[in-house]
């Protein structure tokens, strides 16, 4: 049973990877031969390279902002009892529950209204894109940081204070390092979600500035050749490497 599940998950990944190395332009089986030319094509394609850079930049910035908001929120939810705590906790998950198209539409409308009201450029800017992506990072970060806090004994913080640490020192020296696995896992999942997001970004990117998923979609509208497979393989490899490297420092499997 586990084998079937694993196969179900891996089959598309294996196929796309295989396809990326086909020599012929029209994907058909069996392959006529193998080549690395499509990887070269990816690197020569301006919209792929530009898309990758924008997606990467957006993902990093959104993750940092998302974490800065999610860590205090998680601390409040895990430690304090206040009216509407359950509601707040559910609300923080909303951005990944609401369909991406709905989210994209509402942020699109909001950004237009905000631009009209303030006169500041927002729609189509990287800032606007990052703000929206921070929104989809927050649920992952909150979820995972809250999970690591739930296994964290509050007496540990009291011990630090008892030994002379101020609340601030206690947070930096004791709380933060103890919940680091949750933060790293939250950051990783948040980044991956942001990097792969298509539906929401479609509404928010400016002319000539696209994220990688949009660049792939646009390319596919014109032709299907192994270049698309090659760009996917590069993404898969990047994410896999990030996960493996991260796992060396933090056991993600313990948190998720």
């Amino acid at each position: 049973m586990a084998g079937v599940t694993l196969g179900f998950i891996l089959l598309p990944l294996v196929l796309v990877t295989w396809l990326a190395f086909f020599r012929q332009e029209i994907p058909s089986f069996p392959p006529e031969g193998y080549s690395l030319q499509w990887f070269g094509a990816v690197l020569n394609n301006k919209s792929f390279v530009g898309g990758f850079l924008l997606s990467f930049q957006t993902g990093i910035a959104a993750t940092l902002i998302g974490l800065a908001l999610a860590v205090p929120a998680s601390l409040a939810i895990a430690r304090r009892t206040f009216r509407g705590r359950g509601f707040a906790s559910a609300l923080l998950l909303m951005p990944i529950v609401v369909p991406g198209v709905v989210l994209g539409t509402s942020i699109y409308v909001f950004q237009i209204e905000a631009e009209i009201a303030t006169g500041l450029p927002l729609l189509g800017t990287t800032t606007g894109l990052i703000a929206a992506h921070a929104l989809i990072v927050i649920p992952w970060a909150t979820r995972l940081v809250t999970a690591s806090l739930s296994g964290f004994d509050p007496a540990i913080e009291e011990a630090a204070k008892n030994l002379g640490a101020t609340p601030w020192t206690t947070f930096w020296r004791v709380t933060l390092p103890a919940i680091r696995p949750g933060i790293v896992a939250g950051a990783l999942f948040g980044f991956v979600t942001s990097f792969g997001n298509l539906e929401m970004s479609l509404f928010l990117v400016g002319a000539g500035r696209t994220t990688l998923p949009i660049a792939i979609l646009q390319y596919l509208e014109w032709k299907i050749d192994p270049t698309v497979a090659a760009v996917s393989v590069i993404q898969i490899a990047l994410i896999a490497v990030t996960m493996i490297v991260t796992d060396r420092y933090v056991k993600i499997s313990q948190v998720v």
């Binding site: 011990a159 204070k161 008892n162």
Partner: protein
């Protein structure tokens, strides 16, 4: 090391009284145990001394200095938590050095004092381990070393042994007591385990429902409990319901007329009897004798406990030394139970 004084220290949560005016004087180097069932306010009292709970009234002084509203990190108390509360991401050495770092001591002094503290708890060889690589007993000793390293004015122990198994608990408590004596540390320990309390304490404080019921030595609490609660909580006892009919005379609910110490109590009362002060069969100097049937026998090794029904409403527990030469009474046997009037105490009827 310092004196600790609590003056009418209290804590209320809304209408709920957690601690109702605790007044205590703990002298320099004394080992004081707060004993009581859960919810009696002993932990709240300890946490007020550490500064984690803000008192609703009264005052706390350490070494003559008022600390009532001082933040925990400005007090020099060393606390050992029930869950040990070691910093999971730091090594044993880093854990023990943490409090010294907070005091901004020179690097060499930090290392020296942390090593010294680890030596005291016999864990010199474990400096580079992480807490999760240690057994429960070792973690407990690291927690102790961490609290000792800062040379606290007062050492606070919050049920420090309750997560250890019985055998280890005995060892560690003796170790804590010896260290405390050797270092002359003023120490407050909270526990609900009377045996633990009796073994380590210089003085004990029995608490119930947020109030201090009695302060005294082991002997004071056992021989002269101030009320029925203390009598029941410290040591084994049997209680017979009834009333005082004349000074020194008690009539049980089952109609037995017994002689007792002449206390200033009239009317409804309870007579408390310590099982080891009762005996089976005739003996000299006994003021009370009553016959009854053995209903239950507990074999506890060194001693036997007989539950003897003296009347439909009165059952007493008699403790006998386990002597190999004597045949012990069995369930169903009729026996004569006797005791001196000083074996028991009379308390006025009260809640619990």
């Amino acid at each position: 090391m310092a004196r600790l004084e609590l003056i009418d220290l209290s804590k209320r949560y809304g209408d709920q009284v957690a601690v109702a005016g605790a007044t205590l004087n703990v002298s320099d180097g004394e080992f004081l145990v707060l004993l009581g069932p859960s919810g009696c306010g002993k932990t709240t009292t300890l946490r007020m001394i550490a500064g984690f709970v803000e008192p609703s009234g009264g005052a706390a002084r350490i070494g003559g200095i008022d600390v009532t509203y001082l933040a925990p990190w400005h007090r020099n108390t060393g606390m050992v938590f029930q869950s040990y509360a070691l910093f999971p991401h730091m090594t044993v050495m880093e854990n023990v050095a943490f409090g010294l770092e907070m005091r901004k001591l020179a690097k060499a002094e930090i290392t020296g004092r942390a090593r010294e503290a680890l030596r005291l708890v016999r864990l010199e060889g474990y400096a580079d381990r992480l807490p999760r690589q240690l057994s429960g007993g070792q973690q407990q000793r690291v927690a102790l070393a961490r609290a000792l390293a800062i040379r606290p004015d007062v050492l606070l122990l919050d049920e420090p042994l309750s997560n250890l198994d019985a055998k280890l608990r005995e060892e560690v408590r003796i170790e804590i007591r010896e260290l405390q004596r050797q270092l002359g540390l003023t120490t407050i320990m909270v526990t609900h385990d009377q045996e633990e309390a009796l073994t380590v304490a210089d003085r004990l404080v029995v608490m119930a429902e947020g109030e201090i019921r009695q302060i005294g030595s082991q002997r004071d609490l056992y021989e002269r409990p101030t009320d029925r609660f203390v009598a029941g909580f410290v040591g084994r006892s049997t209680f017979l319901e009834g009333k005082v009919i004349a000074p020194g005379e008690f009539e049980t609910a089952g109609g037995l007329r017994l002689r007792c110490r002449g206390e200033d109590i009239v009317g409804a009362a309870v007579l408390m009897l310590r099982p080891e002060r009762l005996s089976i069969g005739g003996a000299n100097g006994q003021d009370n004798r009553a016959t009854g049937q053995v209903e239950f026998v507990s074999y506890l090794g060194a001693v036997l406990e007989l539950h003897v029904r003296l009347s439909p409403a009165d059952r007493v527990v008699v403790q006998l030394a386990n002597r190999h030469d004597a045949a012990a009474p069995a369930v169903g046997d009729a026996v004569e139970v006797g005791w001196h009037r000083d074996a028991g105490m009379v308390f006025a009827e009260q809640r619990n």
